[in-house]
Point group: C2
DNA sequence: GTCTATATCATGATAGAC
DNA sequence: GTCTATCATGATATAGAC
């Protein structure tokens, strides 16, 4: 059943590399294909055989580049996380508009995920089966969600203080809500085959966040 | 790795039965155990062997009650869905408070999921790997999310008209946001091992929905 | 209704030739 | 770096005894 997809789609996010050595051309193709498939089907439903078939190579070749599936998963997730975190622009306390730009930089890497049918965020997909993943990956997952919330709360709070954002309650609570809504929206978008679901949720969130600008 | 859990936890939701014949005692134990495990690890990471081990029986016995894993999944998901939908109380157009009660009835079945460590909503877990599931289950999933949104939007809109709820924009958009936030919050709660995450998101949502009552 | 035994298949992974 | 060949394991599922 894991092979019952009819049309694989290429995803162009997350090609950046993590701390360690850059990936060779083949390794990158493997990582891209794996990432794309996991975002559609989940970690446990993608096999080396699926990747090999898609790329027209043998599973042994994949094992040469990535000896273990857990290692491949960690590489892909690290790259995906770094792509997001590197996008986050710093704020300038003296420039209110920098908070809006920071928010935009946060949302930018999400767009490619939004625009692909049949996928949802890698973090969310892995989080759904968290307990089945190796401790390394569990740790990357958990710490990203925490870091994301801390960063968002800082931007939201500073932006509210400067009058560019509007929401009630603690900034950490609003950040938790925002991150949760994005994850859930991608998940429901995928489950209902309705790309618009995600767009509508973002519209609703932003109409709240920027409410004064629209009055 | 699917067996690396140290302490299975019992869940008491979703014991209600669907349209067809009620489950025998053993069948119900199997369904409960399977549902609980799937909410922790996902459909593809739970095997008949895992269930058999947990219950102290053989896999062949499980096949007697549920010939196929897809069938077991459909039974469990149908039961889970009915448990939610049956909780939804009708509104009385002449009674504004009935809209608050309807909202409470919607949230009630979510509490047990909130209170269990290491699990997230069955809909969300299955949605994350949607493409790997049989068409039957995919359909139940997709239609539930749509029905949920329609019901929520109706309650939100009626409640806003009567002054008990407060939000801006179309009720369908707010319903989409609400459903997404709940799904994402459970997912992040599980991924970060932080039960409070879910509570905070609900607090934030309700402080928005009931804002006037708190001023 | 539950069991033993078994069939069949896919999986992650390794050894060693080229 | 890629291949063929192979291994060990665990999965779904079935047949038939009790």
């Amino acid at each position: 059943m894991a092979n019952s997809h009819t049309s694989e789609q290429k995803i162009t996010i997350g090609r950046e590399q993590s701390v360690c050595c850059p990936l060779s051309d083949t390794a990158r193709k493997i990582a891209d294909t794996f990432q794309n498939m996991v975002m559609q089907r989940g970690f446990n439903a993608v096999s080396y055989g699926d990747i090999a078939k898609e790329l027209g190579i043998r599973t042994a070749s994949i094992h040469y580049h990535f000896p273990t599936k857990a290692g491949l998963g960690a590489t892909v997730l690290t790259r995906y996380r770094d792509n997001f975190k590197n996008a986050w622009e710093d704020v300038d306390a003296d420039d209110p508009e920098s908070y809006v730009r920071a928010y935009d930089s946060f949302m930018a890497p999400i767009c490619p995920v939004r625009d692909m049918d049949g996928v949802s965020c890698l973090f969310g997909v892995l989080g759904a089966t968290q307990k089945t993943l190796c401790p390394n990956i569990q740790e990357i997952l958990a710490s990203f969600f925490v870091e994301q919330e801390v960063w968002l709360a800082k931007v939201f709070e500073g932006g509210r203080d400067r009058g560019v954002f509007h929401f009630s309650g603690p900034a950490t609570s609003f950040a938790k809500l925002y991150a949760s809504a994005l994850q859930g929206a991608m998940l429901i978008k995928k489950s209902t085959n309705n790309p618009k679901h995600f767009d509508v949720v973002i519209e609703q969130l932003e109409s709240m966040l920027f409410e004064a600008d629209e009055k």
